[in-house]
Amino acid sequence: MKHEQMSGGHRAVNAGCAKTTLRRAQGGVLSAIRGPSDFASCLLGIGLAIIFSLSACSNDPYPPEDGEAKVLYSSFDAAPRTLDPATAYTTKAHSVTGVVYDTLLKYHFLKRPLELMPGLAVDLPLVTPLEGGRTRYRFTLREDLLFADDDCFELNGEGRRTREIVSADIAFQLMRLADPLIGSPVAETFANIDGFVEFAAALEAYREEDPAFADLAAHEQYAAAGGVRGIEMPSRYVLDITLHRAYPQIKYWFAMEFTTPVPWEAIAYYTGQDGRPRFDDHPVGAGPFVLSEYDKQSRYVLSKNPNWYGVRHPEWKAPAAIFPTEGDEEDRRSGRMAYAGRSLPLIDRVVVVREKESIPRFNKFLQGYYDASGVIKESFDSVIQGDGLSAEMEGLGMRLGKAVSPDVFYIGFNMNDEVVGRSNGESSRKIRQAMSLAVDSEEFLRIFQNGRGVPAQSPLPPGIYGYESGYENTFRRPNIERAKELMTEAGYQNGIDPTTGEALTLTFDTSSTSTAGLNQVRFYTNAWRQLGIDVQIDGTTYNQFQEKLRQGDYQIFQFGWVADYPDPENFLFLLWSKMGKSDFGGPNATNFSDARFDELFVSMKARDNGPQRIAEIEEMLSILERERPWIELFHREDYSLYQGWVKNVKPMGLSIPTYQYRDIDPTSRSDKRKAWNEPVQWPAYLLLLAGVMVIVPGVLTYFKERQ
């Protein structure tokens, strides 16, 4: 039975089931009727058939033999565009690539703030400062690691299904990041590696000069182009990465799929030709799961990878292959610590089913057919009460997971603008301060986000080094009176522009054109209206908006940023002048540039966590507080619902999937499913009765007339 038809809930399904049976029964039996007595027995037969089929009819969308298996059920709305670890950069894609590919480093599952630990590597990298400000990171790979079984390894010889992972596989992937043909979104970051940019240029030059070179397989091209100077392999298992400038954050990138080992065989084999899928759609990795079934239109399945080192060598007790033994009080209370030391993964399979609409998805979650779900806006008030779950949901044994996601949403001012930018000096600073004072994030969250979120005081969200819960930004506590005073000090009494005698008019550029999206922007413009500032909304398509950003033709805009890794550098670089949009095409769309801020940023970036770094971050935040290039709005808070039978849920943010740590209790699940999906049979009987009442007189009349 297909899923899509079941969205109406079990009642509709039962009726449909009975109806088809009825039609089939009629077609088969009515032709054999010879007289009234035949007819009566036939009717009895139909009735029995329907009752029989009803008792067998269930709305369970999954095969019954999976009922007791350790299978986790989840859903997706649209398939990720690509699963290539060099280019996949969305949460959707990472939920697959994050478990299919494994990385040298991993994050500790339970510790917060997040902490790195060794994954495929034996230990954390050995950092050696070299002459000329260069730094070397030495990673030592575990021995006897295998890729997941795959057809592509037949390239090495008939019948070969896998091979050992060596440091060259990681080097190969790093070179893929540099390859201009692949166009990795993070190539910029890895340009910190010595010789990385030169390698990309050499590759491009070779390809242009020699058509025969362009026809070689990727790994042969990379080797012929001479490789990257800063990537060396002293032995089969040792990888040396040399950075030409200080960038301590590089270690976080070795916990992301961008730096996973990729076999050259997979790239050479999965080209999209000769009936083989493209590498985009056929990952070959070394993670705890393999993508054993992948249908973009309907479902995909992740199954336990028997070649994963955690499965093959449980005796290693590798930190990323066992359930962590250290946790906090909350982990003990929720029973997670009972799993301490068990080898991963705890479940056999993850079945992810396509579900395009949110309401049917949530209904199936309520029926027990999905193990986790977000809280949809439509039923927010019936699911959440106050700070926790409603009594009804508690009664079903469900649990609520809340996590502030490592992101920040903000309104930015274009500092190159003549009115709100730096050329207007003190006056524009006061306008920005006043506008910041007028925006009430808490009210915004209450109206538009059901109160989910934390009003932001600075660019740094909770859980990021340098975030202080006690810090209060003087310009982020709504105060209309003070804001009006500031407008007067700026020379705009009651918002009136002295040069025109009319309200100060500004433009808010947004890429949302839907009524609902514009209402959110109107919330801000209404707030500024209280100061007498007339902010016009210019809603355009996303492409036109990007075009305006490129041309520097904007005043006020709204953006959000989600962290790649838990380091303040990943947020504060958004205000670094070297990242300026207009001058360098970087993500600093405010074009904010402050000499002291830049100086502190460069120093903070290269420093390890410690009191000095904290002091620098504090000073940077105080500069932002005064200068107000941003109005920090809020950090989102994700609410997720979990069924009572799902164990070990602890979101990590950063779009890191944690399937290997999950556990489920299939017995409890099948009991609950049965209880929640008791078929409502009376409509079917009613239908049967109605059918009989229509058919019986008709048939009786027919026989009467024949006689």
């Binding site: 008030d381 009210e443 009651n494 005698g501 009319e502 054109t513």
Partner: protein, 342 residues
């Protein structure tokens, strides 16, 4: 302050329209045929005409605006901003967020409202009075219907009459143009035009006019083809009357009933088209279509927020029904073939 402030321009246009209306009324009074038709129309559709009149009055009240005269403590009013009569009537009606009709507390959270029981149709997500928004939608609807007709009908007349009267190459050209326009999916053309011209009331009206003139053009062309062969026009031509004079003296007056009928029937269609455009995210700010579009998510909330879509929907329905009903009667009265039946 310059004389070409938008609100002063709007006041002038409103004044001009009023003057035009008075002038039209005088013309109708002066000519026996038109007067009889008007009396007959009033006899048949008194109620519908009154309803349209009420919408017109509301639109008028929102079109006349001036600056000043606002208390200093009024919340959310820009200094020196022009406010219409309607704006002044609802000057201080904002709440924080949703509230149900006649409610005393907020819909979510239950905080006390600033005007308990003061919102007969509740408030929307930004706390704006829905009754006020629905009334303001009347002006937008009239503007869309009126402005678009004012662009489309002269365009159609120009091409239709010239093609019908002069025939030949020009007729071929116009007919080719009409066929080309008619073979394009109008919704896609609309979207493309608005995307090119940018989103504003005026560009939406132009886009609607460009896609809407074809049908009427075909009609006027056919009618002109018929008229030019009639005896009195042949006679005028034989007497050496100039072409322009024939068109203005003999052809246009004989198309007048068609113009009136088309205007009234086109009007409701245009208002509905705008609602569709709003639903696609390219409508006119403040229209009922946008209110309905904004209510998309509200209907799936629990408990349901129904007053936004209900208010906008019934305001739209009321206007369209009244205009259509009047339009129907106008056709019956003015069309010589149906005029006798009553």
């Amino acid at each position: 302050m310059s004389w070409l402030e938008p609100h002063i321009l709007s006041n002038l246009v409103t004044l001009g329209l009023l003057a035009g209306l008075v002038f039209a009324a005088r013309v109708v009074r002066a000519q026996r045929l038109w007067r009889e038709a008007a009396v007959e129309l009033w006899r048949r559709r008194r109620f519908a005409i009154l309803v349209v009149g009420v919408y017109l009055l509301i639109g008028l009240a929102d079109s006349v605006s001036w600056t000043g005269g606002v208390p200093d403590d009024a919340v959310g009013v820009l200094p020196n901003a022009p406010l219409s009569v309607l704006d002044r009537a609802f000057l201080d009606s904002r709440e924080a967020s949703y509230s149900a009709p006649f409610a005393a507390v907020e819909f979510y959270g239950g905080d006390a409202l600033r005007h308990p029981g003061g919102h007969p149709l509740g408030t929307d997500i930004l706390g704006r009075d829905v009754f006020y928004l629905s009334l303001k939608g009347a002006r937008v609807a009239l503007l869309i219907g009126g402005l678009t007709s004012l662009i489309a009908i002269p365009l159609a007349l120009l091409f239709g009459v010239c093609a019908g009267y002069f025939g030949g190459r020009f007729d071929d050209f116009v007919f080719f143009l009409i066929s080309t326009m008619a073979s394009m999916p109008s919704l896609l053309l609309l979207i493309a035009l608005i995307m090119v011209m940018g989103r504003s009331t005026f560009s939406v009206c132009i886009a609607l006019a460009v896609t809407g003139w074809v049908g009427f053009c075909r009609l006027t062309r056919a009618e002109t083809l018929k008229l030019r062969e009639l005896d009195y026009i042949q006679a005028a031509r034989a007497l050496g009357v100039s072409e322009a004079k024939i068109i203005f003296r003999h052809i246009l007056p004989n198309l007048a009933h068609l113009i009136v009928i088309t205007f009234v029937l086109m009007f409701s269609g245009l208002v509905l088209s705008e609602a569709v455009l709003s639903w696609l995210g390219i409508g006119v700010d403040g229209s009922w279509g946008q209110m309905i579009d904004g209510a998309r998510d509200e209907l799936s909330r629990q408990p349901v927020v129904w007053w936004n879509i209900a208010a906008a929907g019934s305001a739209l329905f009321g206007l369209i029904l009244a205009v259509n009903s009047v339009g129907d009667a106008v056709r019956d009265v003015l069309d010589p073939r149906t005029a006798r039946e009553s």
